[in-house]
Amino acid sequence: MNRLIRPLLGAALIGLSVGASTALAASTPGGRALAPGVKVDVAPAPGSGPAAAPGAMDDSALRYYARIGDVERLEAEIARLRALDPSWEPPKDLFTPQAATPGVDESPFWALLSAGKFAEARAAIAEQRRQSPSWQPSAKLLQELDVAEGANRLRGASDTKRWQDVIDAAAAQPEAVACNRLDNAWRLAEAYAELKQTDRAFDRYKTIVSQCPKAKERRDTIFKASRYLSPEQLRELTAIGATANPAAGEDYTTVRKVEGELESGRLLERLGNPKGGALSAADLSRVEQTTRDKQDADAAIALGWYFQRQKKHAEAQSWFAEANGWSPSDKAAEGLILALAGMGKKAEAREAGTPWRGKSSRVDQALKAVADPPRGGTGGGPAAPQGPSELDMALARNDFAGCLNAVQRMIARSGPTAALVQQRGWCLLELKRPTEAEAAFVEAQALAAREPAKSDKPAKPTSRRANSDRGLEDNATPAQENAYGQAVARLATGDVAGLTRDLPRANLTTTQKAEIRASLLATEANRALEDKRYLDALRLLDARKELEPEPRNLGILRGWSLYNLHRLDQAYALFKSLDDRLSTEESREGLSTTWKTIYHDW
């Protein structure tokens, strides 16, 4: 078990008032250094004697923590002893080296305990008791061991989803689920919830948010509970957490806000789900308000798609435009293109895609909807449709099954073309059918070879007023488009090794190559994290970042790599910035785990 000593020991000590004479002093002679730059003044030892009545309190743990400089635990232990006896004062000679007490020196056992070697501590104690039958280990040592073992047992049961064992372990050792082991308290509540004993789970959560003093703990608890409790229960939980047993100096307004955040999150989730149905006017205006307040581009995009699915293209367009204004992205541009296409404003749609053209596959995709209709559609059948074709409309709705049907019908009507089959490939990819998609791109390539007139021209000769030279050079030929499609399909099937091998020789534009390379690096980074090669993961992510800005999911991955390399401050800062932008289960998990590790608050 790696324990990290919290950097600012001084701040913790000031609040302790270890005797009147304990103060933070820059360089008091005789002061005892606990950490670089931090010294604690101690009372003169000779003749002063212990302050507390001898034998009144078991201060063995206290002395041990003082000796090894574990101020975090020292503080907790002082608080505990104070709670037992408010008149108790910590001994003034806490930091004075003690003459070895007659009998048995407990420090080896404490050291094993601190190192997380509970079984080894038990073995050493048993051996000592065998050798000195009259010796008894201190009650504090045994209690700490009992609690640590109980906590371990509970975690093991929870990790392997033995929920009843979790409950038994907590019953056997209630201290293992106290506020200072918040994670275990959550695991116990989760065990009840998993066993469908929701009332008991609710009770546990209520205990936590009323007993644990820190606002952050209460807030995190409500987020945790949101997986299992009803909105009504969460409202109650929030009310309790915001008011019950307030601790001095804690600001519980963040607890009160949780409900709104959860509600917005839930609504956004419904917004993003095509089967989520329509939101009530009140809910909708609530989400719109929060989105504007936070200038949350991701939420704005979700709103855009919500309206786009309902064919309210103007509203969709305005949300995508908002999103793009707050934080320009190819996702926002993609929505904008399709919303404008839905409004019949093809030229504006093409213009909206310009900055991302050739740099983003999703924008290139979307632009197909406003490109000239595929050749198959111009067969001159009866009453050729005016305005967007069936295929265009399907694409504008992000309806990829509809796309396949449309392509199928067009091929049935007038035979396959490279463009149509390629379109089929893209739609298959969107439907997560990469193997078929790859086959479609291969077929499109073969067809393109038999369509000599177009083979060496750029695939989409529209809207070429790009203001960058790259825009020109990056217009892909049909062959390049097909090769690109195949590469994306191979990525989706997980053929990383093969793709890495073939990439240098592939007929792709520079930007296409960069994009595929970036995806490969992301895949490799994921694999490195899984293999616990954290430095490699960071190296791969850094290499990728030179090609493209880092998306959120890879930011999370970077956070865990930093965490596992014990670069906790960096991990925390990263998770924090991700969480501030959009608080999701992933970012909250990263944030709270890192926080708990930094403050060893398990």
């Binding site: 038990r122 073995a123 104690i125 048993a126 051996e127 008791r129 065998r130 039958p133 047992r153 064992d165």
Partner: protein
Amino acid sequence: MTPTRRDLLIGGTAALLTTAAAGVPPLWAKPFDAAAWRDYADRFLRPEGRIVDTGNKDVSHSEGQGYGMLLAVAAGDRAAFDRLWGWTQRNLMVRGDGLAAWRWQPEGGVTDRNNASDGDILIAWGLLRAAEVWKVEAYRAAAVAIVKALAAAVVVEQAGLTVLLPGRDGFRKGDSLTLNLSYWVFPALRAFAALPASLLPDPALWRKVADSGLVLLAKARFGAYQLPPDWLTLDAKGGVTVAEGFRKQYGYDAVRAPLYLALDGYRDPYYFRPFAMLAAKSGGDAIPATVSLPGGTTTQVPASVGMLAVYRLACELAGTGNSVTVPPLAATEDYFSTTLAHLSALAAQSLGIAP
């Protein structure tokens, strides 16, 4: 090392044993004395020198030979000891590596040549006791040879622990080991560790084995009572799970763990509490012979008299306040139960918790 009361008892002087009967509380099984040994030998020791496992089709095994040799030394019966050791050498020490084949059947003799490490350990310990009591150097030399063979064949390092394979062959699966904690005969391991370095290259190895056994007994705790399994798996990282491929239970094997700890003078309640808790939870009803792990399903089969004697000992040492009534040994009590009862009596006497 000064001799303790335990050394005297296990070492055995007939005089001490015969006087131990006075003032026995009625709840205890009878103390192990000369009469108890005569009865034991009558029932389980065949004239040729083998102990028969009456619960298992009258086979003999290295474990039984070891127990028989120890009890013979404790009772001061050198003739019986020599018959036991002679039969063991002739019939079980046939592997060529200094260890004993684990089982001998009336039909067919030795059919499985693998060893059982606890049998070898008990035999070696019996020989060491005999060497001390009767001052016979040949016994000590024979013991040392077995201890060396054990060190070479079954002592391995895993995840920072020094552990005993239950037999030389068949207990490694990939990078995991299958172990049996009832093979840690703690007082025997202590006796090995106390051998002079002039006889054994690394006596301290056995201290490490014993220490690791204590660590494993603290780690291997499962189910509501936190009992050790009969068979466990130790993975490469030191993780302990109930072994696959064996009955996932606490039972006839693991019940010996507290017995051996007590025999070695351990009295830390932590190590006896799981067994005392099981006894306490059974209340007035029979204590079950086995408990499934981690589920906690118990058998209808009640614990035997010998197992009850172990529970009584465990309750005393755990300080849980409960007690266990141990009925007298029945005339038909089997070999295993009778042996456990006698060893429990020896442990209780040596710890001073029974006369």
